[in-house]
Symmetry: C2
Subunit: 404 residues, 2 copies
């Protein structure tokens, strides 16, 4: 019976796929443009007025869009704009970091409705999972107080944690080895009854930028994330790209010079971990963020020295990213306080000359992204929303019946 399972082919599609795509296209158009009339949507999506009308009627019935006041603009019948209903869908996002974990609830438009954080016992996943499930339960209850339909409109749980995933030698202290081995997704799926997705933290950052930040509506953007480690989140062709094994963009472990295995990974020089080390701070310190903020504001010499060194490496990373991906823009994000991130951005100027240094650019080569430390949890939560509502190739195709 399995003799044919080796045939490689893409899935076909049918009218359901068509309809699903068109619904998603409407939602994306409303997300990107704020409020649009049916006629606007018809023009923008190339569909007929009638098709749009039917779809909008459906979406309105499903509580995903709502009509606004009619507006008169020149000759002709006034139009009725529609906008997304934030309460149309919710998702929970979970950030698992080395020393703490955060959970948030976001709605369809990416607003954070509830948040909670807790310390995480390092290297004890089975204990940690209890903490996490408690956290999730907390924000979920909070959501229930906000919306009566919260449960039925909860589309999933997105998890973000430091990558890379699935390596052979995962005893590297940078990599949370115990967590890599723990069956986290299965445990969380069982514990919450939700669909669970996983991204690394840079991908989560990129997802956050895409839904509410600088990558909103940009098809080719790379998000350079300076956190405890360093990595790039890739928006290619308007979608998050995660590579063959979910590890694309993990540049933290890239060797900077062609000097062989002995070189220092980028991560060991341009990351908050290296900053903590440079400042003699404890990564588990509960007031780490405030301390960094204060030091950055005070232009502490040690901090400024680190910024200078990190900016040097990061400038080179931006050059490399531009050369390799040819993105429309590079977004610098960080778990660090905004003051620090902004100084880092400034220290990176002027950027190295590169292929991106072309005439007629509409977006800056490098810009500052969200610096809120909750952005990773936000991006984690945005992933299920995006999966459920954004137009994607795979959303058109018929789903393989037999699992996966």
């Amino acid at each position: 019976m399995n003799e044919n399972s080796s045939i490689r082919a893409k899935s076909g599609t049918n009218q359901e796929g068509t309809s699903a795509h068109n619904r998603r296209v409407m939602i994306e158009a409303l997300r990107l443009n704020g409020a649009l009339s049916r006629a606007d949507l018809a023009r923008a999506t190339q569909l007929t007025k009638q098709a749009v009308s039917n779809i909008i009627e459906d979406l309105e019935r499903d509580g995903l869009v709502v009509a606004l006041e009619t507006v008169r603009k020149g000759r002709g019948q006034p139009s009725t704009p529609y906008r997304l209903v934030p309460e149309g869908a919710f998702a929970i996002g979970l950030q698992i970091d080395r020393h703490l974990t955060r959970a948030v609830v976001v709605d369809l438009v990416g607003s954070v409705l509830a948040r909670a954080e807790a310390n995480l016992p390092l290297d004890e996943p089975s204990e940690g999972v209890k903490v996490i499930l408690g956290l999730i339960d907390g924000v979920r209850r909070e959501l229930a107080g906000i919306s009566s339909q919260s449960e039925s409109r909860l589309v999933g749980l997105g998890v973000a944690m430091p990558g890379p995933f699935g390596l052979k030698n995962s005893d590297d202290k940078w990599m949370m080895p115990a967590w890599q081995k723990f069956p986290l997704l299965e445990t969380l799926a069982a514990g919450t009854g939700l669909n669970v997705g996983l991204q690394n933290d840079a991908a989560a950052c990129a997802t956050a930028e895409r839904i509410v930040g600088a990558a909103h509506g940009v098809d080719h953007a790379v998000c350079l994330y300076v956190g405890y480690g360093i990595a790039a989140g890739l928006i290619l062709n308007g979608e998050l790209y995660t590579g063959g094994n979910g590890n694309a963009g993990e540049i933290g472990r890239a060797l900077l010079s062609p000097a062989g295995p002995g070189s220092t990974p980028l991560e060991h020089r341009a990351s908050l971990a290296s900053l903590y080390q440079h400042l003699g701070l404890d990564a588990a310190d509960a007031h780490l963020y405030e301390r960094m903020d204060a030091l950055a504001l005070a232009e502490d010499p040690k901090v400024m020295a680190w910024i200078k060194g990190a900016a040097h490496d990061l400038r080179w990373s931006v050059h490399l990213i531009e050369t390799i991906f040819d993105p429309q823009t590079v977004i610098l994000t960080s778990g660090a306080p905004e003051t620090l991130a902004r100084r880092l951005l400034e220290a990176m100027q002027p950027l190295l000359p590169s292929i991106a240094d072309r005439p007629g650019r509409s977006l800056p080569r490098l810009q500052l992204g969200i610096t809120d430390p909750w952005s990773i949890a936000l991006g984690a939560a945005a992933e299920p929303i995006s999966r459920a509502f954004d137009p994607r190739f795979s959303a058109i195709l018929k789903t393989r019946a037999g699992g996966l």
Copy 2:
């Protein structure tokens, strides 16, 4: 009237899009699996037997597929396998290099039916275009002798030339500045009456590997191309990725170390140009290829020294590519003779440890691709074929009526 043109949205789709996609899926399945029965196709594509039957009937009428002998395999009615008809479609590929140009005709399955080459006057595009049009006309006539329907089945002209494209300072001698400014595509479209597409040479290599080489059916592969320059062709999510401005993968100009603008681009060390320089060969020499082949076979010390140096840099490039893209495999291709390419591949072993060095790999981390010097022209020709017949997201969407 143009007030609404600023609305950003993806196109919707309809039954035509569905049908177009399903046709493409059938063709891809036959390309990847050789010959399949309608029942096989139905299982592989998730469509019903009936839908597949209708589509196959269409494709057969259009001369794109043909039935083979029925085969008996166990119980049940014997199945009738179908395969692609090579003569179902043709495309012309054009490679424009610094000193020469090549044109080929390929068919639907990627076989080369005709080929021609000529020298190209450097920095004189208006003269060069005459040579090119003559070359194209030649292979086109040759094709007409092979197939009576050649003209109606000619899907387009694919052009491959060294990138990057559209830079500010295009007076770099590496970059064929005069050609960068010349309205090549428009001239060729007018001169041939064909649809014209452009890729850089590494992308063409990747396209060639995808249609007939090591990337056949692989969703995530990077093609490292060592030609006169060096660049990477990116197959991401089963499609060629070209970035925001068509320059993705142009790693030749990437600086190797974070030493700032003064560093040596990779291209100046690991490319055939550097080999020619190292050997004191003239890049315009008509017998360059044979000379290189002879030297490589004889294990000439100078060649071996260059190989050692280039391999050192390339090993690092592979590490970087693996770290950044997380591909299933990296394919080494080159305009150099196979002996040389193979020695280069061997000299790159052992590869640097990287994220790709994981258990349970099904494909090698690095493998040798097509070494035929005509592979770029082949890839150029494969692009229109792929555009016309491979399943792609954009092929499903309604096309914007008003051009582009």
